[in-house]
Every structure is written in structure tokens, then in C-alpha cells.
Subunit: 265 residues, 2 copies
């Protein structure tokens, strides 16, 4: 994308997210229909589905040749990363949406031939949207964000996945205790926002492609390292364990993680 | 206290907390001086200390015969619960205050002869204050809160203490996985607010008296059960493990906790 195309994309996506926010908040006034997916704590609601339909329709109208990978099924399944791909999470943190009416996000990540181009994450209830990419500076609601500090692990809060940390998979429980404090929010989007805002030094979890695509893309604007536990690149065709952290903490986390055979959250 | 005295106390405390909020937010504009206490993740700042001095001065002026137990030392140490005692936490979640500039609380709990009378917790950055007690309905910013649902553990989010859950003390790791999702916020005050707002079904942690006093007192307005892991009452003279949860979840948590010799967080 040219710089002009990238800025145009940014304005479009921010507009779509603003409309998503209004639609979601309006939908919260009525009873929400909750269904389980892979297990009792993997939820989807009518609001997730409606917002995915809305975002897919907007993306398709604006970028008819792009492919779309979305959390809630209706989007076409992506089997290669060739060309332009939009990753869409219409509500990230659906459990929080259902139980807390807070702490959930909408995420859009754009990739070209597997390379990150653009990421946008909206905290719906706080009306904070952060966007950025390798060629686009990090901004929150259009205002440039300060440099994200590159803290040591012991000096930063670390977001962690609950089952992984409780079962000490990859030694993550001990890694968490080596930080300034582990935090569990229940939303990957909220974790990436916290890192971009300098509130948290990293995040380790088992993530689907749409959970990581936006944060990994905007992370390129501020040096965020996003890899598998062995340091290899994250492949957006498959789910897996992701270590997202600022460089110093990322190196410390990788050095402390042990190999493991963890497959599924 | 008579009902009139109780309402007067409520208006006073809400006023002090509002002034605390303004003072803390003003202090955040300048560099904050951070010191460690018992360990590298046990922090205190000049803002904690200044807010404790402020609250102690207000309490002493209004209730000269009351005794005060505060987190930050300057208050007189309480050795019995006879008479009227104010428990003060000037900033609960100091690590969050330092790292995140969000997710911290100010808490005041009032007890008479060891019995809860009144509790107030302020979320400083969201400007939300919840107050209540056994004889005072639960309100948020003066507006009555809806009935807190009495959910099963599997149907509610559970706040947990990080080292306890990672080390599976009392079997808490497995209890957390039996919930709809464990959450770690790093602030007892934020956890009690989430329970009062119906966002979370309970909270298990190792707490000091000033961490639990306010939430245990306002919890009496909505049936919150607050005990030690063996079901015995919480004694506000000593720190220890606290199980705070709505009745159904409280019973389920106690049934799943094992005995343990855990002493210190």
C-alpha cells in the first residue's frame, strides 16, 4: 500500500470501528443471546455475529478482492496468506462482554502476502481506539502515543493465559511470578492495548489468528516482539502459543520458557 | 450508629473520597516517588502517604475518639477491635497506580466492636464510588445498585491472587479453572467493586485488614459471604487468606479448597 492508501485505510477502519461501537452499545440495551462454541467458556452472542456481518460487509464493499478471516465463521476461511487478508475479531473477550459489560475489544488486522500492514484495536466501553503498523505511527483516537518503554520483565506487568499459567505450561507460572505482577483480563485485545499504552510489558497466551493479527501489526510501530515460545515467527494460518513483549522482556521470557507440548487452551 | 448518623457518615466519607480523587489525580501530573516495602512488588508512593495523611486528618477531626488502622503506617496500630475503628487503604493497587495509572482504589471500612458498619470503595480513574453496609443499601455514586446475582461458580468470573493460584495453594488453581474464568487485577478494591457490580462472582486472596474491611462491610448490603478458607470469620487484626463470594459460589469454593499452610503472599 502507498502511504496515501494506508492513511485512507486507517480512516476507513476507524470509521467502521466507531460504527461498531455504537451498534454494540445499542445492542447491549436488549437481552443478549449467548451460545457456547468449543466448550462452556468459549462463548458467542448475537452481538458478535451481527458485528462480524457488519464489518465483513464494509470490508467487502471497500476491498472487494481482499479475503477475510473472522472469528465467527461467516467469513470465508483463509487457507493461504497470499494477497490482502483482513483478520476480524468482532468481539474479543466475549465472556467479559457477557459477564462484565466491559473489558472487550473489536480488532482488525490487515496483512499483504503474510506481512503486517495495519492493526486497529477498539476498547468498546472506554471508546479508545489504537491503530498503527510498520509504516504508520501508533496513535490513540488520532493522537500519537508516547514511546512504549522497553522495561525488564521484573519491572513490568505481564498478561497471562489462565490455564497455561495455572498448569505452569512452558514454565509460564514461574515466568509470571518473575514479572512485577501477572494480570489476567480475559481479552487479547485488552492486553495488546495495555502494552501499547505502556501499562504492561508483555502478554503470553494461546491465540487464534484473529486474536493476534491486529496487535502484531500495530506492534510493528513500537518494536513489539511477537513470536512463538521458541522464537519462531507467528504463522497466521494456525492457532498457537504467542509471546508478545517489548524486546528486553521478550528475551527474558523466551530464556525462561521451557519446551512443552501444549496444544489447546 | 443511628440511621441518621450512618447517613451522615456516608455523606462525609463520599466527600473525603471525592477530595482524595482530585488530590490523587492532581499528584499524577508530577513524577511519583516509588519505594518498596516488604519486597520488590510491594510498593508505596508519596501519593499513597499523602492520601493517608489527608484521610486520617479528616477522620480524626470528625471522629476524634475513633481509632484508625491504615496501610501506610502513620496511623495508630490497632490491637483490639473494641469501639469504633476506621480501616483506611489510601491507594489499593499501588503497582497498578505506578505502572498503569488505572485500576486502583481508595477504601474506607468502619467497624464498631468488630462488627461491620460501613464500607466505601472508590475507583479513582473511573470516578465510581460504591458504599453500603448492613443497615445501608448498596449505592454507586448515590444511585441504588441492582440486586447482585447469586451465580454458580461455573457461571461467574473469579478474582484470584497470582502466587496462590500459580502455586495451587489450597487447590485454588483448580478452583479458578472451575469458574467461568479467573481474573487477576492486582487490586482487592477493584475486585470487591466488580463483585458489587455483578461482574464477578467472588475473589480469593491473601489480604491485610485494610484490604478486606471496606468490601466485607458493604458486602453485608447484598449477601456477600466473606470468610477464611475453613469457613471461619475473618478477624481484622491479622492478615490471612480471604474467600469473598456470593453464597452459591462461596459454598462451592469452600467445598473445593483443600487445607494448606499458606502464610504469606
Amino acid at each position: 500500500m502507498t502511504p496515501a492508501e494506508l492513511h485512507h485505510l486507517d480512516r476507513q477502519v476507524v470509521g467502521w470501528l466507531d460504527e461498531s461501537r455504537k451498534r454494540i452499545r445499542a445492542a447491549m440495551a436488549a437481552p443478549v443471546c449467548v451460545q457456547t462454541k468449543s466448550g462452556r467458556n468459549d462463548l458467542v452472542t448475537n452481538v458478535d455475529k451481527a458485528n462480524q456481518r457488519f464489518l465483513v460487509s464494509r470490508i467487502t464493499a471497500a476491498y472487494p478482492t481482499a479475503r477475510i478471516e473472522g472469528e465467527e465463521g461467516s467469513a470465508a476461511k483463509v487457507s493461504t496468506l497470499a494477497g490482502r487478508v483482513f483478520f476480524v475479531d468482532p468481539i474479543d473477550g466475549t465472556m467479559n462482554f457477557v459477564k462484565q459489560q466491559a473489558y472487550f475489544a473489536v480488532m482488525i488486522g490487515v496483512y499483504e502476502d503474510g506481512q503486517p500492514v495495519y492493526g486497529a484495536i477498539l476498547d468498546v466501553m472506554r471508546d479508545e481506539v489504537i491503530t498503527g503498523g510498520p509504516q504508520l505511527p501508533l496513535t490513540q483516537n488520532g493522537v500519537p502515543l508516547p514511546l512504549v518503554p522497553d522495561r525488564a520483565l521484573a519491572d513490568g506487568l505481564l498478561g497471562v493465559n489462565a490455564p497455561m499459567v495455572i498448569n505452569n505450561r512452558f514454565n509460564l507460572g514461574q515466568v509470571a511470578l518473575a514479572s512485577a505482577g501477572p494480570r489476567m483480563t480475559g481479552s487479547a485485545g485488552m492486553e495488546f492495548l495495555a502494552i501499547a499504552q505502556g501499562q504492561q510489558v508483555g502478554y503470553v497466551s494461546y491465540l487464534q489468528p484473529w486474536d493476534v493479527a491486529a496487535g502484531m501489526a500495530f506492534g510493528q510501530a513500537f518494536g513489539l516482539q511477537v513470536t512463538r515460545p521458541d522464537g519462531s515467527p507467528v504463522d497466521l494460518l494456525t492457532p498457537g502459543v504467542v509471546v508478545a513483549a517489548m524486546p528486553r522482556a521478550h528475551a527474558e521470557i523466551l530464556a525462561r520458557l521451557t519446551s512443552d507440548t501444549f496444544v489447546r487452551r
